[in-house]
């Protein structure tokens, strides 16, 4: 079955769903069940076609070579190998046909790069395939879940329209074969995120600050703009440097460019700028502030956009540009440091939140930090693997919290929960499985991915023991705040108001079914990517299928290479090296494994100790740690800091601009208008309505012209 040439159709299914639902629902034609029938079908079709395409792709792309050679401008095929990734690309249409344009390059002698042809290029390789399956699968599940969650909402059709649009944009992002198409998706998901955060635009979101949901959406959007500015600068710098935005061509150019004078500093600059974009989209320090507020959106949105898919776009982008980062160690170092700091910093804030969704939000920020830590130390495979596992368990957690919120009178406050295990067993068990996974219990998926990242941060050539230490501390906190949430929500005495308690029951099947599927994924998905270090402990060989598939995409070419996963060949003598700096011994592996379990157990124990007995000890300790609690609960006062350092000066400048605009710019405009009017007032005197005078002027003009001609 030849599906690959039609991969560009995948984003079009949800786009069509968006158009149909968006227009027909607004016109009042589409009502009731037909809304989600259309929307879910659109999403499911995207999943089916994606699955078929990936299946087709896994069968090898060799058979498309003749197709590619028959239409070279349209199709491109790269047949991969051990170190070369297979890739299939289709360019649907020209977009920026700037071929033959002259660009001034950085090269000595200003060599000009002059073939900037950007088309609507969609390509599929292993990395895309992974993302494609995650996005469409989780996305479809969350569509299904939303049928139950959003039932009865007045904006039902609007919600599904946005959700479909988001799917289309996310798929465009993932499938984009060059940075510009990717950027379309990048901005598109930003837009959808804004629309969906502000979905309940007229409702208050944060009673402390009096912000509405619309404000939260705006905050997310503006914060993202800051990051996008860096992203755009990076992209433009890429164009100027390499004259192309195509990922294939970029990889080739970068791999070939390591010897040039500009390589290291310039690539580092580009890498940092692109990473600024990633910090915005993926909520990293210092631009993470929008994600906790993004919880203003409906919970399925939080699960889909702000946990599973969109926020991981930064990680995806970094992996996509891995060639660039391999050649820019400075940039990678920045990524690793920011990732590690975010992982710890967000975890501390998650500890002191009472809003269940905020706990999960900080958890997400923290987990994204781990992904960037992985990417920063060169463990791109592990980072992407964590992305996948995180998509499952975090989606499951969010949806579980949504299930709880929907039953508990739409409050997010964990102080009003408690003992829900009795009423909501399915929600409880799925939530617990996902918590165990994120906290890092041995065979579950979270352990496989997170601890691989930590291990690589310790042993990689790009790693450092300080990074590992910070990450491990974060992991302890992760375990703690997640079990804290479990105890506060599901165990102990129920603290809900009477009217809520009376109607407590399990969520409908359409929601719990999704939870079960996701929990199963969270539990078992780790087995497709068991790190070599772990499989060695139980006497197995290299069973890391995931790394096997993905490694060629993110491997560093032109860099002296070790094998995927770090083990294998010894490091060479090149300037840039991939792989492990130190090859861990068998004992070290065991030590790490046990340490990971210890970390898990520590968090669990602390949570049990503090919150186990119906939060008794936590209540007792609270006054003694009031200051710390306040600090953490108010998120280290970062929002206040931003308010003082960024917003206030910004407002001052804006006010100055306002005055300038009002007096100088408007003044100029008004002057022009007044001058025109004055001229008109004077000139109109000539138009006195007496035809004779017009004729006289005409005659005078004619005589003057004749006189000038004949002089």
């Amino acid at each position: 079955m030849n599906v690959l040439p039609y991969i560009w159709l995948i984003p079009l299914f949800p786009l069509a769903g968006f158009l149909v639902v968006g227009t027909l629902w607004t016109m009042g034609v589409l009502r009731g069940a037909w809304v989600h029938r259309v929307a879910v079908t659109a999403s499911a079709l995207a999943f089916v076609v994606s699955a078929l395409a990936v299946w087709d792709f896994s069968g090898g792309v060799e058979r498309y070579e003749s197709l590619a050679s028959s239409a070279p401008g349209r199709y491109a095929v790269t047949v991969g190998g051990e170190e070369e990734a297979s890739r299939f690309s289709v360019t649907v249409a020209e977009w920026v046909p700037a071929g033959g344009t002259v660009l001034r390059g950085w090269d000595p002698g200003h060599r000009r790069w002059s073939d900037l042809r950007v088309g609507w290029k969609f390509s599929l390789d292993a990395l895309t395939a992974v993302m494609l399956l995650v996005v469409t699968f989780v996305g479809t599940l969350i569509h299904v879940y939303s049928i139950g969650y959003m039932a009865g909402d007045p904006g039902y059709g609007r919600f599904f329209a946005y959700l479909n649009l988001f799917m289309a944009m996310m798929l465009t992002l993932v499938l984009g074969g060059n940075l510009l198409v990717m950027f379309v998706g990048w901005e598109g998901v930003g837009l959808c995120s804004y629309l969906l955060i502000g979905f309940f635009y007229d409702q208050p979101f944060d009673r402390e600050s009096g912000l509405t949901c619309a404000d939260a959406g705006r905050k997310a959007f503006i914060t993202n703009r800051v990051g996008d500015f860096g992203f755009l600068l990076g992209a433009l710098l890429l164009v100027v440097t390499f004259g192309t935005l195509d990922f294939d061509a970029l990889s080739a150019a970068i791999n070939g460019a390591s010897g040039y004078w500009y390589a290291a500093p310039l690539l580092t600059g580009i890498g940092v700028l692109l990473f600024v974009g990633a910090t915005g989209k993926s909520a990293q320090v210092p631009l993470y502030v929008w994600l906790p507020d993004a919880m203003a959106g409906p919970t399925p949105v939080s699960a889909l956009i702000h946990a599973a898919t969109m926020v991981t776009a930064g990680v995806y982008m970094l992996s996509r540009m891995s060639a660039l980062y391999w050649h820019a160690p400075g940039a990678m170092f920045v990524v690793a440091v920011v990732g590690a700091l975010t992982a710890l910093f967000a975890a501390t804030m998650g500890v002191a939140q009472y809003d269940i969704k905020k706990v999960l939000a900080y958890s997400t920020v923290s987990q994204l930090g781990y992904m960037f830590l992985g990417a920063g130390v060169g463990a791109f495979v592990a980072a992407v693997f964590h992305l996948v596992t995180h998509a499952f368990f975090k989606a499951c957690l969010f949806l579980g919290s949504g299930s709880v919120i929907a039953r508990c009178g739409h409050t997010n406050d964990m102080r009003l929960y408690g003992g829900l295990k009795k009423w909501m067993p399915v929600t409880y068990w799925t939530f617990l499985v996902s918590t165990l996974a994120i906290a890092g219990l041995a065979p579950l998926s979270g352990f496989m991915s997170k601890d691989e990242i930590l291990a690589q941060s310790l042993f990689s050539t790009r790693g450092h023991w300080l990074l590992w230490l910070v990450g491990t501390l974060g992991a302890v906190l992760t375990s703690f705040y997640m079990f804290r949430a479990v105890w506060m929500t599901f165990h102990g005495r129920n603290r809900s108001p009477e009217w809520v308690r009376e109607q407590l029951r399990e969520s409908p099947r359409v929601m719990t079914g999704v939870l079960v599927v996701l929990a199963l994924g969270a539990a078992t998905l780790g087995l497709i990517g068991v790190p070599h270090g772990v499989s060695r402990l139980v006497g197995l060989g290299d069973v890391n299928w995931f790394a096997h598939v993905l490694h060629p995409v993110v491997a560093a070419r032109g860099v002296v290479s070790a094998a995927h996963g770090g083990h294998g060949h010894g490091a060479g003598e090149g300037v840039l090296r991939e792989g492990f700096r130190v090859h861990p011994t068998y004992g070290q592996e065991w030590g790490l494994f046990l340490l990971a379990l210890g970390v898990f157990a520590t968090g669990l124990g602390l949570a049990w100790w503090a919150y186990g007995n119906d939060m008794a000890r936590a209540r007792a300790l609270a006054p003694r740690f009031a200051y710390v609690r306040r600090l953490l609960h108010r998120k280290w006062f970062v929002d206040e800091l931003y308010g003082k350092l960024v917003l206030k000066p910004f407002y001052a400048i804006a006010r100055g601009m306002d005055v300038f605009d009002r007096w100088v710019v408007d003044g100029a405009v008004n002057f022009a208008a007044a001058a025109s009017e004055l001229t008109g007032q004077v000139v109109k005197l000539f138009q006195d309505g007496i035809v004779r005078h017009y004729a006289l002027w005409l005659l005078g003009g004619a005589v003057a012209v004749l006189w000038m001609m004949m002089r």
Binding site: K684, D688, G689, R692, A695
Partner: protein
């Protein structure tokens, strides 16, 4: 023996000037129209005279001037029809054909 086209052009200029003067110095709409007709005639005269000046080319010689004059003639007929209709409309509204009365639309 033939007429000197230069002298015809001079006559044309004089007639045109007279027409212009008529348009400028009179108030009656009908007289104004007649002044315009005089000017058109002067123009036609110049065209026909010019047809005599241009070198004879082709089978028919240079008839372009005469053809143009023909077209001007047709347009003059159209102009007179519309102009007179306007005069009648003006008369109906104002009870007079004084063009100075038709100045409601000035600035």
């Amino acid at each position: 023996m033939q007429v000197d086209p230069g002298s015809v052009l001079v006559l044309s200029a004089i007639l045109f000037a007279i027409g212009v003067f008529g348009v400028i110095s009179r108030r009656g709409a009908v007289v104004l129209l007649m002044g315009v007709e005089l000017m058109l005639n002067a123009g036609n005269l110049a065209l026909v005279a010019a047809a005599r000046v241009t070198p004879a080319g082709g089978e028919l010689g240079a008839m372009d001037g005469q053809v143009l004059a023909f077209l001007v003639l047709a347009i003059a007929a159209a102009e007179a029809a519309v102009g007179l209709a306007l005069v009648i409309a003006l008369f109906r509204h104002k009870g007079s054909v004084d063009v100075d009365l038709a100045r409601m639309l000035r600035w």
